[in-house]
Amino acid sequence: MTRGVAAYTFRLLLRSPGRSLALIGGLSLGVALVVSILFFVESSSKQLTQTAIAPVPIDMVGHATVPTISQRQVVGAFRRQPGIQAVEVMDAVDFTTAARPGGAQKTPAGKLVAVDPSFFQSFDVLKVSSGAFDPNGALVTEATATRLGVKPGDTIAVSIPALAAPYQVKVTGIVDASRAQMLFLSTDPSKQGEYQVVTDMVVMDRSLFNRALRTALLGAASAQPAPNATGGAPVVDQQQLIRIDRTALPGSPAAAQTRVKTLARSLERQFTGQIKITNNLGDALGSAKGDALTAKILFIFLGLPGVALAVFLARYAGELYGEAQRREIGLLRARGASSRQVLGIAGLAAGVLGVAGAAVGLGAGTLVTVLARGNNALASASAGTFIGMVPWALAAGLLMAVASSFMPAWNAARQNVIDERRRIKRVERAPFWKRAWLDVGALLAAGVVLFLLNLSGGFKPAGGEGQTLSFSFYLFLAPLLLWIGLTLLLQRLLVKVIPLFARSAAGASSGFGQVAARSMGWRANRLTSAISVVALTLSFGVSLALFTSTYNAQKRMDAHYAVGSDVRVTPALGLAQPAGLRQRLLVPGATGVTAVMRDGSAVVGSERHVVYGINAAKFGSISYLPDSFLVGESATTMLSNLRATPNGVLISRDLANTFSILVGDPVLVRLSTGGGAYKDVRLKAVGIFKQFPTSSQDSDLVMNRAFMAQARGTTAADFYLVRADGTQAGATRVANEIKPLFGSTAPAQVQDLTATLATDQSTLTSLNLSGLGSTERIFTLVIAFAGFGIFLLSAIAERAKEFSTMRAIGAAPSQLRRLLAIEGGSIMVFGLLLSVPVGFIIARVLVTLLTSIFSLPVSGVSVSLSPLLILFAVSAGGLLVALVLTAQALPRLSLGTTLREE
């Protein structure tokens, strides 16, 4: 490249600062958007990792598979392993019952566990709530203490099958085991991998255990032939509880999982065949991994139109100066510049602009991220993240620069010089896309893709362990094609509509209104681009707002579905319920309570199924049962049918299909009555449902509670649903009112909407979509503002001569401002109006595509007005500011210089 080319290029960039800045501004917005989406993906996956591992109390648990290992040796080896923070041992033995010697009260089966005193420091799953952990005594859980009426100082007798006589030990304190659910894996083969809920526990010091029980128990164990071979657990479950250094984990769930798995494997390998590690952390990360992938896809979907928009803006900024660029290139070529030189100039200029745009965009993206989500958004990002962002920013900046400033130059360099020099006529040949009907083609293609996706069951991100990304590539195609098609179609239509509009406006007005209308008709092309920028930008905002409100509504619906109502109260299993519990649950704020009965081991045909008993009269008003959950009938009708038929039953569609049951058919069900006994009942199907609130999987049959109670011979409710006002805050308030009712004496699980939203479902629903929303809202505003501002400023620059002439022949500055205001105002109004339908269409497609992130099918776009109105108000305000600011530039036109140019 010659010096002449470089010198020319730098003069071009430096001496028309307005133009360079407009282009850099356009580019940097695109880059900034890319950067902030990347920041978002980064910090989201980090957050997903955190959310996933936070509730895991014990990272890994080692189980001895042979009774003869040396716990001390294992612990020593584990502790030496890098990345391990703490290792504690625990020996656990099942007991059949515990009682006071000679007492009548007995506990159900429970666990006797032995730990070192340091256990209480290393893990906080067990907490001494009264008394003390004594090497010569034992702690009992609150449930056990309540059942047996023991207090510290009393003695209890624990019956263990392997022992000849119950083991007697002194109670030295009470332990709070409410956080110990994850200590024991279920031994029930049908619930493999699930945790076993143990309410009655006896906790003793390991030294005492070793002295008093170990030999006897292990002796008994070795007497049993190979305990594992029979599938039963060893008599003494010798565990190592492991806590790893979580701060050293990588941010992304996938990487973190790999790390954790490797660690677990290297622990197992040291004691091959002797230790089996249960990797709680790995499992949690596994489900987060799928979610992180989905989150990435979600962000890309939501961000993609934004990036397309930014490219459009850059293109448009380039186009505004295209005229000048073409003229200059024509002149260069007339002066003997070769194509190589022309392209060299265009390429160098694009390169400089692209790099500058990338740099500014990187800064702006960081700034917007901070603005939208506060400082900690960055704090969580390392320097590496930032550096990793640089190539992306550069690539985005350069790509957009090529699209916006190099490609037009490339075209100009290949055309006849004379055409470049004499573009006196504004009528240009229709662009390629218009002649090829690319817009309609893209829309049709988008439709086909959507249709095919629908046929194949839509978007299914592959979660789960070991599975790889297996979603369809077409998925990305649909919104992209839709976006491109809508953009181009909008342009095609606007170019036709604006002159018509302008003509009728000119006919209807006089004076400056007429002048403005004529001017708009004359500049239909320019106006089309400007309106498109504003409309598409705002439609982007609109679609996001609509998607977010749908997402939130859906999330709440999911939570309502899982909880059953606003709050669910599940009293501890097998405990006598306080009298008048249902009445007492009607705390202030609660509008209704209904009891639900659950039989988890009923049998239909030869399979086990879950049967619920509800109060059909009240259920409808307390639970959330939308009609869309049901097949063929409204919720009111179906519930009143159930009520009218004492032995009526509602059946899930799956079950109905399996057994070919139709409404009106008899259904034979064996209800369990406890202790392995069953009672056969003959029910009558009165309705079929797709989903039924309270449970996401196992609500197979729903019958009248009264009938169920009579059949099973018990009236005890399994849980209660409490309705508050439907909001998260209301649910939390009611839940907080309810919790103290139980105290520590009769533990009950109180599940409310908010907590469910936060944790109970997949980590995905905890995604900070509103954070993304506010990031993109800022971009919506900035891009609309910039696009509009660039249009107005370039309009002033391009029409300097015209405006100056108007001034010279009598127009006052205020009149020119009015002219600009009318033109600008029309762009605004058109843009705002068009953004609504376009935004709605895009939101609809997004919701369709992303259906599978919700556990319930989505019925449509939920419109919540206030965010939309705010969006409109703020953008209208922003556009007005742009208008006022640019109007200020009008009086500064230097009439003398502009009128001198011929």
């Binding site: 002449g4 080319v5 020319y8 003069r11 260069l332 007339a334 002066r335 003997g336 006849n416």
Partner: protein
């Protein structure tokens, strides 16, 4: 006469034996949607090396179109154009660029100067594009010669009409072309400066530069060796002029 009827355009060895510019039965039709404007309808002319030819005609008669075609800036619809032995109308853009850079200087009716470059930079531009080392010095020299040296640092918007025109002329002759095509190149000059410019051009002409100038100005026409009248896209008559050779 027409040595190169076929094949590749390439310089004829005995270039001096043939006319420097040959325009042979050239048609130019501008198409704009459904509207067709015939700007040239079979124009023919030849210009010998070293001639000073003036073209006159009413507005819209096709003068600028003709000059643009000779300068290789536009294709012909039909007919052929040869400049310095190169078949311009049919060659590719690279060759045309080379011919423009090495052999032809042009002054247009308007928009001659790059708006963000100073007068001096504008004049230096074609020399830099051609890779000349002394571009800056020579640009200053040319501006001085045309009486606008004092304005070398002004951008086009800071120049008066006549000053702009003189800077444009300096730009066109910067690479010492063999052929200067001028479209109304003295349109905005007063008599005194017109004479000064004409003197400068006459000196170049004397040193062998061929001049083809479109003008309305009789002062300019008087200096020509030949005057061509163009009417409705046809070169009607060719009259010999006295040619005020100095």
């Amino acid at each position: 006469m027409r040595a190169q009827t076929t094949s590749m355009p390439r310089a004829v060895p005995a270039a001096s034996l043939m006319p420097f510019v040959i325009v042979d039965d050239v048609f130019k039709v501008y198409r704009e949607g459904d509207v067709e404007t015939v700007a040239l309808r079979g124009a023919s002319m030849t210009v010998q090396r070293g001639e000073f030819v003036v073209i006159v005609g009413r507005s819209g008669s096709g003068k600028s179109t003709l000059l643009n075609i000779i300068g290789g800036l536009a294709d012909t619809t039909a007919g052929r154009v040869t400049v310095a032995g190169f078949d311009l109308a049919r060659s590719d853009e690279e060759l045309r660029a080379m011919v423009r850079s090495k052999h032809i200087g042009m002054v247009f009716q308007a928009d001659n100067l790059v708006p963000f470059l100073t007068a001096e930079e504008n004049v230096a531009l074609p020399m830099q594009l051609a890779g000349r080392a002394d571009a800056g010095r020579r640009a200053r020299h040319l501006l001085d010669e045309l009486g606008v040296g004092a304005r070398h640092g002004h951008r086009p918007e800071q120049l008066s009409g006549g000053e702009k025109q003189r800077v444009a002329i300096a730009t066109a002759i910067a690479n010492e072309p063999e052929l200067l095509l001028g479209d109304e190149l003295t349109g905005e000059l007063d008599t005194m400066n017109t004479d000064a410019v004409l003197d400068a051009l006459a000196a170049l002409n004397a040193r062998g530069m061929t001049l083809v100038i479109v003008t309305h100005n009789m002062r300019v026409a008087r200096r020509a060796t030949r005057i061509l009248h163009i009417k409705d896209g046809l070169i009607e008559e060719s009259e010999a002029a006295h040619g005020d050779k100095s």
